[in-house]
Each structure stands twice: as structure tokens, then as C-alpha cells.
């Protein structure tokens, strides 16, 4: 999974899609997930880092992550290439 390459993301969690003109905002967890996706981390690496950073249990994260990815896809921010 990859974040579309031209998506602009600021440190405050503001996301701008220059192809569609849509803008969104996300919290620190979302921002960290997007940062890791931009670094081309796979799902397992991503889960491992987020669990450590935000003291969250793995099964809850996995479920929430599925919802978050679906949301990113529906907003055309995510390219699923695997």
C-alpha cells in the first residue's frame, strides 16, 4: 500500500490532494500511519511501530487500521498495489 505520491501532508495533520482539490485533517496517530506508509513500510512493520509509539494493543490497532485504509482509499489518497 502506498500513499499517492503527489499528496501534500503537513506536520499539523492537514492533507491536500492536488489532483482532486480535496483536503482533510488527521490526528497524530493518522499522521504517523501516513508517515510510515510514505516510508514504504509494510503492514507488519507499521503495526509494530504504532503499537510501540501509542501504547495500543495489536488487535484493536489492526481493526482500526483496516477502517483507516478503507477511508484513505475512498478519499483517493491510497494506492493499493499489493
Amino acid at each position: 500500500m502506498q500513499i499517492n505520491k503527489n499528496i501534500a501532508i503537513s506536520d499539523s495533520g492537514f492533507i491536500f490532494n492536488p489532483s482532486s482539490g480535496d483536503s482533510f485533517s488527521t490526528n497524530q496517530v493518522g499522521l504517523e500511519i501516513i508517515r510510515l506508509l510514505k516510508e514504504n513500510k509494510n503492514k507488519e512493520e507499521l503495526i509494530s511501530e504504532i503499537v510501540q509509539l501509542f501504547s495500543i494493543d495489536e488487535s484493536t490497532l489492526e481493526k482500526d487500521l483496516g477502517d483507516f485504509f478503507l477511508m484513505l482509499q475512498s478519499y483517493q489518497l491510497l494506492n493499493e498495489n499489493d
Binding site: 501534500a8 492536488p18 489532483s19 482532486s20 482539490g21
Partner: protein
């Protein structure tokens, strides 16, 4: 750098809730890097807000409505030119363009006034009633459309169209009809305002994206900036919008402007379907009211138009800022009764 002093006459001063492009064009011209421009406003009504924007419009004159014919318009322009010495005229209303295109040769020959307008053939070729054919000629998808002259024809449309469909006026206005009854209702509403024919168009769902562009008349697209509306008024006008990074849209615009050898400013209105396909909904034969966004993004289209009108060589813009927004606002001007009296009685201000 010393700026060349010129005088440019501009119409479309109706900076209202459904704004004309005049004031944005004037703002872009006033910020020209090459010209020091005296602006002459051309108005059709005495309450067009631009008449009273003295920081932007140096002098204004009322001109006859297009329905009065080209002879009276030419006579009026002759008088205005004697007073002001006009170098270039930029008309900004669809409904007046026909008259100005017709008068372009006479304006140049008799008064040395330049214009930079599409030819009559180009103007007609992108008309809503023949847009489908225009799309085929220029390799761009256009929703299927048909002209109708009577509300009775709506009931026989079911062989060509499914509902919802779009009912459009020949110059302005469009409504989405979900049933034949709604279509008849919109037919009467829009034809009462803009006359016949009415254009019936296939409805395509997706996001509306628009491009403001300018062609040199030789097949070159001099500039193009795509925009998505972010805030839309109840009249369907953009109250806020953002410039987009969309190579496909720029490529389609280059193709349309190039193939048609479009001369002058224009606005291309597209729907981008969920599948990522672009459908041309309209091509307006003049700058849009949001053209100042192009200036804000680094492409001053009105300035480029003036340069080309004056015979200067203009190189195509090769970039623009993505993610720039425009946000419109309304503003109450306080106007002295004497000013209103002047434009109402003398036809100039």
C-alpha cells in the same frame, strides 16, 4: 522597468452573486508587469458594481444592449474612443461577443482599436447546441445532447435519454431534471429567461473541474489553470475554489485549444467521472469570473491577451502554483447619489 501606458475597455462589470468576469480581468490587468493600464468600464446597467469601483475602473460608459444591434454599439464605441483613445477592448459577456466579433474589423480599421477574439466560426463551433460535434472534432468526450424548441418534445426524449438529464439555457442556466414533469418545468423557466432553443444533455455524475485558458489563434495554448469549486452558491457559481495538479486536464485543454486554433480567453467546464474520465460540459468563449486565480497562480491570462492583441509575441506559460485558493466575498460600496445620477442620465461616470 518603465511600463507602457495603454487604455483598455472592459465589460462585465456586474460583480454580483453570479459575477461577470470584468472586475477579475481588470484586477489582473492593473497588476500587469508590462503595462500601466487605464481602464474604461463598459456597462449595460446602472447598478453594475464595477461602475463604482473607482480604484479599479478609471472611467465608465454605458453601452447599448446587444439586442439594439451592432450599428448603435459601433456608434457608441466611436464616441467613447474619441473621449478616451482605446487601445484594446475585452468584452466579457457571452451574449455580447457576437456583436464584438462582427465589429472587430471595423474597430481596427476605423478606430485602431484592437481585440483578441475567436472567429465567428470558432464562436459558433463550441456553442452548447453543437458541443457534441465539437467534442468529436477535438477528441474530447461530451455528454450526448440535443436541442429542443418546444416543451412537447420532452416526452419523446425517452428513446435518446434516460433520467436524470440536464436542461440548459442557450447562454446560461442549467437544471437537473429527474422526471419529464420536472424537465417541462425547467424548460419553461429557462426559456422564459434566455429564449430558445433549450439544450437537453445526458447527465454524467462526478466532480466538476474547470479550466481557465487562453489560445493564440495559431494552435498554441498560452496558458491553462485547472480549478475545482470548493464552495458553490445556489446559482451554481464558485464562491471558493482551488487550483489543481491535473496533467490529463492540461493535456485535454491543450488538445482542444490546439485543434480548434482557439483565439482568446475561454473556460472549459468538465465533469471528471468516478472512473477518471473527463467529459466536456461547456466551453465558454471568454474568461471565467474566477480568472484572477490564474494570476494568483502565476499566469496572468488577461495581460497575455492584451499583449497578443497589441501584436506582441507571447510564449506559453509552463507552470502554475497548485493548491492556491480563491475565496470570494461581498462588499457594500457606499455610492454618492450624484454618481448614480451621472451614469443614469449621462451614460458615463
Amino acid at each position: 522597468m518603465t511600463k507602457r501606458k495603454i487604455t483598455v475597455a472592459v465589460s462585465g462589470l456586474n460583480n454580483i452573486d453570479s459575477p461577470g468576469p470584468g472586475i477579475p480581468v481588470i484586477r489582473a490587468l492593473k497588476e500587469s508587469e508590462f503595462f500601466d493600464i487605464r481602464i474604461i468600464g463598459l456597462s449595460y446597467e446602472n447598478l453594475e458594481p464595477g461602475l463604482y469601483m473607482r480604484d479599479l475602473v478609471d472611467k465608465s460608459y454605458s453601452i447599448p444592449l446587444p439586442s439594439s444591434g451592432t450599428a448603435s454599439l459601433l456608434e457608441r464605441l466611436k464616441y467613447i474612443n474619441e473621449m478616451e483613445g482605446i487601445d484594446v477592448i475585452i468584452p466579457n459577456f457571452d451574449a455580447e461577443l457576437h456583436s464584438f466579433i462582427k465589429l472587430a474589423t471595423a474597430l481596427k480599421r476605423d478606430f485602431n482599436i484592437e481585440t483578441f477574439l475567436p472567429t465567428q466560426e470558432q464562436f459558433e463551433s463550441r456553442h452548447k447546441s453543437v458541443l457534441y460535434e465539437f467534442g468529436e472534432e477535438n477528441g474530447v468526450k461530451v455528454p450526448y445532447s440535443k436541442m429542443i424548441f418546444s416543451a412537447n418534445e420532452i416526452y419523446s426524449l425517452k428513446t435518446d435519454f434516460t433520467y436524470p438529464l440536464v436542461i440548459k439555457g442557450k447562454y446560461y442556466d442549467a437544471s437537473i431534471a429527474a422526471t419529464p414533469e420536472q424537465a417541462v418545468n425547467y424548460f419553461h423557466k429557462i426559456s422564459a429567461k434566455w429564449g430558445l432553443p433549450i439544450i437537453v444533455q445526458e447527465f454524467v455524475s462526478g466532480n466538476e473541474v474547470n479550466v481557465t485558458a487562453i489560445g493564440d489563434g495559431k494552435g498554441n495554448c498560452i496558458g491553462a489553470v485547472p480549478m475545482r469549486k470548493l464552495y458553490i452558491t445556489d446559482k451554481g457559481k464558485a464562491w471558493a475554489g482551488v487550483s489543481l495538479d491535473d496533467e490529463n486536464l492540461i493535456e485535454i485543454t491543450n488538445r482542444v485549444i490546439g485543434n480548434s486554433k482557439w483565439k482568446g480567453g475561454c473556460e472549459l467546464e468538465f465533469i471528471k467521472s468516478k472512473e477518471g474520465e473527463y467529459y466536456l460540459l461547456e466551453m465558454n468563449p471568454r474568461f471565467p469570473a474566477w480568472v484572477y486565480l490564474a494570476k494568483g497562480c502565476g499566469q496572468n491570462h488577461p495581460e497575455a491577451l492584451v499583449k497578443m492583441a497589441l501584436g506582441e509575441d507571447v510564449k506559453p506559460f509552463d507552470s502554475y502554483d497548485v493548491g492556491k485558493l480563491f475565496v470570494r466575498y461581498s462588499f457594500d460600496q457606499i455610492v454618492d447619489l450624484k454618481d448614480f445620477e451621472k451614469i443614469s442620465t449621462l451614460g458615463e461616470l
